[in-house]
């Protein structure tokens, strides 16, 4: 398929999913609400000296993003399985790569929206300087989003093919995404302190490697997942 055609078709699916979510409001409000509740809960436990707060804040922020983001990741394929939408999508003249990349893009947008709420909320509630170096935080957040969305989209599609759809995704994604969550948390912690030496680059590179690896695996194997 020619690249411009694939990009156009990718955009159609992305647009369809965004419009569908705006109209039905099935996943994103629940995701944001869960994120806010988790942020309040974690911030309540961060009554620590400033140094200790900085040490744990990165991990807690990314754990909150992971837990709340799971709702959007789980819905991205479960919603297609309802009312025969999946058959309709499969009948469209769209390659499986375009479907995977479009779903990945929708999940990246969902996670970015979640971070747009959660990161400022953590700053307000606990006073940790998460936005002290916005460019570095933006880079870590962007890579973290692609990493979690790439793994989550592939595993979400796998879980949607099973009877235990709702319970399976967290069980599959949590162990698989450990390197991404760990790298994002450590890179966030170092960025807060303004330490942009070798360790920060090491963690950022690991995050990028995870994102590239899972996007590649997703593109290569997605066809096998959606085969009927």
């Amino acid at each position: 398929m020619a690249f411009p055609h694939m990009t156009a078709r990718l955009w159609w699916i992305l647009w369809k999913d965004l419009v569908s979510e705006c109209r039905s409001r099935r996943a994103w409000p629940a995701m944001l609400l869960l994120g806010i509740v988790v942020a309040f809960t974690f911030a309540g436990q961060m009554d620590l000296p400033p140094d200790e707060q900085k040490r744990v804040a990165g991990g807690l922020v990314w754990l909150a993003i992971f837990l709340a983001g799971m709702l959007a990741l789980e819905r991205s394929f479960a919603s297609e399985r309802e009312n025969g939408c999946w058959q309709g999508l499969r009948l469209c003249p769209v390659s499986s790569h375009a479907i995977y990349l479009a779903k990945l893009a929708v999940n990246v947008v969902a996670l970015a929206a979640l971070e747009g709420v959660l990161i400022p909320l953590f700053v307000v509630l606990s006073g940790v300087p998460l936005l002290a170096h916005p460019a570095a935080m933006l880079l870590v957040a962007a890579l973290g989003n692609v990493a979690l969305a790439a793994a989550g989209t592939l595993l979400g599609a796998l879980a949607a093919g099973s009877r235990n759809t709702a319970h399976l995704l967290p069980l599959l994604l949590l162990p698989m995404a450990v390197p991404a969550v760990l790298a994002a948390a450590e890179a966030t912690r170092l960025a807060m302190d303004g330490q942009f030496g070798t360790p920060w680059w090491q963690w950022t590179e690991l995050l990028a490697a995870f994102a590239v690896l899972f996007t590649t695996i997703g593109i290569m194997l997605f066809d096998f997942v959606i085969e009927e």
Partner: protein, 229 residues
Amino acid sequence: MHARSGSLRRRCQSIGNAAVVAMVLVALAAAFLVAPTERTMGDAQRIVYLHVAVAWVGLAGALLMAAAGAAYLVRRNLRWDHWAQAAAELGWLGATLTLVTGSLWAHAAWNVWWTWDPRLTTALILWALYAGCLLLRGGVDDPHRRARLGAVLAIAGAADLPLVVMATRWFRGIHPAAPAMEPSMRAVLLASVLGFSALFALLLVMRRHQLELQRLVEELTESEKEMPC
């Protein structure tokens, strides 16, 4: 002629099974009777002979599961999926035993049952990956669909493992990394790894054969239902 070759095959199988059981018993006996008692930890150190062997089996299961999954995706033959299923079950058993024996050793050495050391974390993640694979497989009825989804998850898990090892290693760890050993201790460890690898291979072949028979029975039952009365 056919009956005689079948009987010869069964006899060879029995001899092979007995040899594997003997290898494991010899390895266990050597761990308790031949290996010298370690100076600092005493008898608790003998757990290492079992721990290293089952940890190796746990890792080998993951690699085999991914390789068999990839072979299924290429060949579309359910025999490969039976290898993957058998490797998943035995690998999960190996990973569980690794965590249990590791915990027992950790309590004796560090006075804690668990600590977030990189290797312990990696072992736990491997265990969770196996559990996820088995849960996913358990939730799909159609054999070919189960094989496809299981293969994709196994390949993704195997590709993820080096990153898991790297990420967890960058934290400070307290797990001993291949400590220096007496030659007799090293020989016992090698015997144990060989013995348990042979046991793993034997159980793998037996379980795969059982899954094959199970599929044949299911196919026969289905065809019987479809036959007109």
